[in-house]
């Protein structure tokens, strides 16, 4: 069977180098939940090979169960790290999702989300003019920042912009930027989704318009450094955009945890508060495994007066997923929450009283898991946590 969409993402030999050793099974959060081979990376690869083996006359149908399983993947890419032959799993999963999309096989939840992102420019299908709804309580301070010319741009991202429960993240972020004397701008209604939900399903061609729009607006405002709390937006700008557009995007992309480290190192951010507290740090997949950012968030936490950082059994490249990636939250909400609960349990095992993360989705996921499973542990984004020390 010809797979033109998949071929855009990985070399044609990529699925064939799978040795079926099964190492991926032991780190896959979905396999941990489901337990059937069809949910494991190697099981999916076995079926992909079978599809590739089919001749044109044997096209046949693609198994519904396989389609379901392909969207049961958080794209945490932990499978890539343990793979015998280092298969480029992230690209492969994106590619096969694109292939299914080109055949009209996406689940409805995926198609709806895709359409909303393309037409409304945010994944919640909200009116995009309401991008600053998170700043409702601090409008006087924030509105002057919208559309002003500045070298630093703060990209809020759809999740933080539209989810009231975590409005504290952008609020804390701007408080820190102000405390450090950073002159920054916010795109406001001109901020469009970074395209991450489209990248998750291999909808790269549809993401070009979003990427070009965001870059154009940032350029108009003279932005040279882009800061974001969202690990997904960060990954999109840093990893996907240059590849998608085939050029250097001309803007430095910095995750807020990195920016915090920079401000501390440069002496621009100092702390007036000390709190004796033990915390553990959860490495978001998109910041850690996808982008290799592990040290800066830890540097920040270790710089806070009175804070003791303890590590979970699985951290850094071995970090467990929060279950919120890959659009699994949309297709399999219960499974997604169960995965988050597993991660929260691991954090509880460290004796820490709070989990600190650097991803809006991880923060939402783990908070929801702790709440619904009645687990007593605090969960905050690094921006929220740091803001308490200034």
């Amino acid at each position: 069977m010809k797979t033109p969409e998949l071929d855009k993402f990985v070399d044609e030999t990529e699925p064939w180098v799978c040795t079926q050793c099964g190492y991926c099974r032991t780190v896959c959060p979905i396999f941990e939940q489901v337990g059937w081979e069809s949910a494991s990376p190697r099981g999916k690869l076995y079926y992909i090979k079978e599809l590739l083996r089919r001749t044109e006359s044997q096209q046949g149908v693609i198994d519904d169960e396989f389609v379901k399983r392909i969207f049961q993947c958080t794209l945490c890419v932990r499978c890539e790290g343990i793979c015998q032959t280092k298969i480029d799993m992230g690209r492969l999963w994106q590619g096969i999702r694109a292939e299914l999309g080109s055949r009209g096989l996406w689940p409805k939840e995926i198609q709806d989300l895709f359409d909303a992102t393309v037409t409304q420019h945010n994944l919640y299908a909200m009116p995009n003019e309401q991008r600053t709804v998170w700043a409702m309580m601090i409008e006087d301070e924030i509105l002057p920042k919208v559309g002003k010319v500045a070298e630093v741009g703060y990209f809020v991202g759809c999740v933080a912009a539209f989810t009231g429960r975590i409005a504290g993240i952008p609020e804390s972020t701007v408080a820190i930027l102000d405390a450090a004397g950073v002159d920054y701008t916010i795109l406001g209604p001109d901020e469009w989704c970074c395209g991450n939900p489209l990248f998750f399903v291999g909808g790269h061609s549809a993401a070009v318009e979003l990427a070009e729009h965001n870059l154009e607006k940032l350029r108009e405002l003279g932005v040279r450094t882009l800061v974001t709390n969202c690990a997904g937006c960060f990954r999109s700008f840093r990893n996907e955009y240059p590849q998608l557009l085939g050029r250097d995007i001309g803007i430095e992309v910095v995750h807020f945890s990195q920016y915090l480290a920079r401000l501390i190192e440069e002496g621009k951010l100092t702390f007036t508060q000390s709190k004796a507290i033990t915390v553990t740090y959860h490495d978001p997949c998109e910041l850690g495994r996808h982008c290799g950012i592990y040290d800066e968030p830890r540097y920040v936490l270790n710089s806070l007066p009175g804070v003791t950082l303890v590590e979970m059994a699985n951290s850094r490249a071995e970090s467990e997923c929060c279950g919120g990636g890959g659009l699994v939250k949309g297709t399999n909400p219960d499974m997604s929450l169960d995965i988050a609960a597993g991660r929260v349990d691991q954090a509880v095992g460290t004796g820490a009283s709070e989990i600190i993360s650097s991803c809006v989705t991880c923060r939402l996921q783990m908070s929801e898991a702790a709440r619904t499973k009645d687990v007593e542990i605090g969960i905050r984004d690094i921006a929220e946590f740091v803001a308490d020390f200034i």
Binding site: T13, V17, Y46
Partner: protein, 481 residues
């Protein structure tokens, strides 16, 4: 009848833990080795269903129902082997022990731990490490393979040189027989004997629990390596290193061909000589003493030692022998246990075999006792090229034959080595096991059509080597085209 079987099993384990979908059945129809589709003419590899019990009691119920239906039962864990041990030959039920994954506490004297059969070695090793303990030995597939799987199949791996076969490390087993009887078999049990269930690949029942001997985590552990040009001196060198005695935990040779292939995949370490790696463990004094003895041997022989950090990095790669598959894209392999004094000759012949067939070969040799070496021969193939791939498969038989011609044995039996079962097990033991088969599995439902002898889906015994089977299959396929 299938519906009845399915619903009966669902009543035991729940509907969530029985799979009958065509996708799932396909995924449980094979192990790690890519098998050409034409072999489905001979073997009914597609199971009827897959069941996942989560206790020995449920395993027993499943086996009782299978007996009632005279349905074949293929026990399966990680499915990471490549000898067809978990490949159904006559369809039936695949019994996945993946839900049996409880790790018990280390005994109060620190000498053993009870674990479920589906526990992955890596998880056990990590848990023990947290408690200051360690396993005695483990398979190189530890990141995915299970305790039950290794006890049922191979049993040699890292640490065997010091601690022997896994059979020497088991205090007790829990096994469910084909008739659904749950047996607790201690090490000193006379009838049934524990050994009957070790390495017999699910022929007598399903292992559900293992009490393993463990050790205190060693105070010190170092890795040393030395480069060797050519293969002439390897046998003598390995023998000399093996005499380092107790602190020597593992001793492994990466043949020059494998080192070259691996170099092609890395931007850093470029090398084309063989590399001998030693892992030395024990008290600080023991380790220091053995390290000095190693240095003395290396100096005496005028060899070049590998930088310690490189040796350590190579050792960390021990779990990923199939890295070279990226060059294939398929990697095939065969294992044979040979006398240590035949190492040089065997390596030479393996390399010649590769050259003759124009196959790139990579060999790892693990010294598993003072007298024997487990040789893993890997070679590159391309499963997309059907006809050439089938001929490439035949090299497996040639590799085993080289081992046999030097007084060796195939490592493991499964489906593909079943023609060597009598020789591997010894005629007397083979006969005893056949007798036991009739006792523990009178209906012959446990993992049928392999181990004692390979049989086709129609029950016709395959008396010739797998190569012949494959060739016949190929001929049939050609005629059908």
């Amino acid at each position: 009848m299938e519906t009845t079987l399915t619903s009966q099993l669902e009543r035991i384990v729940g509907t969530e833990d029985v799979a009958v979908s065509s996708l799932e059945r396909k995924l449980y129809s094979h192990d790690a080795a890519p098998i050409p589709g034409v072999l489905s003419l001979f073997f009914k590899t597609l199971p009827d269903l897959i069941v996942r019990p989560d206790s020995a009691g449920e395993v027993a119920e499943v086996l009782r129902i299978a007996s009632e239906h005279k349905s074949p039962v293929v026990p399966r864990a990680a499915g990471s082997w490549s000898l067809g041990g978990v490949t159904p030959v006559k369809g039936g039920i695949v019994l996945d022990v993946g839900k049996l994954k409880k790790i018990g506490d280390v005994s109060s004297d620190g000498s053993s731990v009870e674990v479920d059969a589906g526990v992955v070695w890596k998880d056990l090793m990590r848990r023990l490490d947290e408690k200051g303990s360690a396993v005695l030995s483990y398979p190189t597939s530890a990141p995915s393979s299970t305790v039950g799987g290794w006890v049922s199949t191979g049993g040699y791996g890292v640490g065997s040189l010091r601690h022997g076969h896994v059979a020497d490390q088991i205090e007790a087993l829990e096994v469910v027989t084909a008739q659904g009887e749950v047996l607790s078999v201690a090490r000193d049990s006379v009838d049934p004997k524990m050994e009957w269930f070790v390495g017999t690949e699910g022929q007598f029942g399903v292992i559900t629990k293992v009490r393993l001997r463990v050790r205190k985590k060693p105070a010190a552990s170092i890795v040393r390596g030395v480069y060797v040009s050519g293969r002439d001196d390897l046998t003598e060198l390995v023998r000399d290193f093996a005499k380092l005695g107790t602190p020597l935990y593992a001793l492994k040779v990466l043949d020059s061909g494998l080192v070259t292939l691996r170099s092609m995949l890395t931007s850093g370490h470029k090398e084309d000589r063989s590399l001998v790696l030693l892992v030395i463990e024990g008290s600080a004094e023991e380790v220091s003493g053995a390290a000095s003895a190693f240095e003395k041997i290396v100096a005496q022989k005028g060899l070049e030692p590998c930088a310690d950090e490189l040796a350590e990095a190579e050792w960390q790669e021990r779990y990923w022998p199939m890295r070279i598959g990226r060059l294939g894209p398929t990697v095939l392999g065969a294992e044979t246990v040979i006398p240590v004094d035949r190492l040089t000759s065997v390596l030479r012949e393996m390399v010649l075999l590769g050259a003759k067939h124009d196959a790139q070969i990579g060999i790892e040799a693990h010294v598993i006792s003072e007298d024997s070496v487990l040789v893993l021969v890997m070679y590159l193939a391309d499963e997309r090229k059907s006809l050439k791939y089938v001929t490439r498969l035949s090299l497996v038989r040639e590799i085993v034959k080289i081992g046999l011609s030097h007084g060796g044995q195939p490592y493991g039996i499964g489906l593909w080595n079943s023609v060597y079962a009598r020789r591997s097990l010894g005629k007397e033991y083979y006969t005893e096991l056949r007798r036991l088969k009739a006792r523990f599995d009178p209906q012959g439902i446990m993992n049928p059509g392999k181990f004692f002898r390979a049989e086709t889906r129609f029950g016709i015994p395959i008396t010739r080597a797998p190569y012949a089977v494959v060739m016949n299959a190929l001929n049939v396929a050609r005629r059908l085209q």
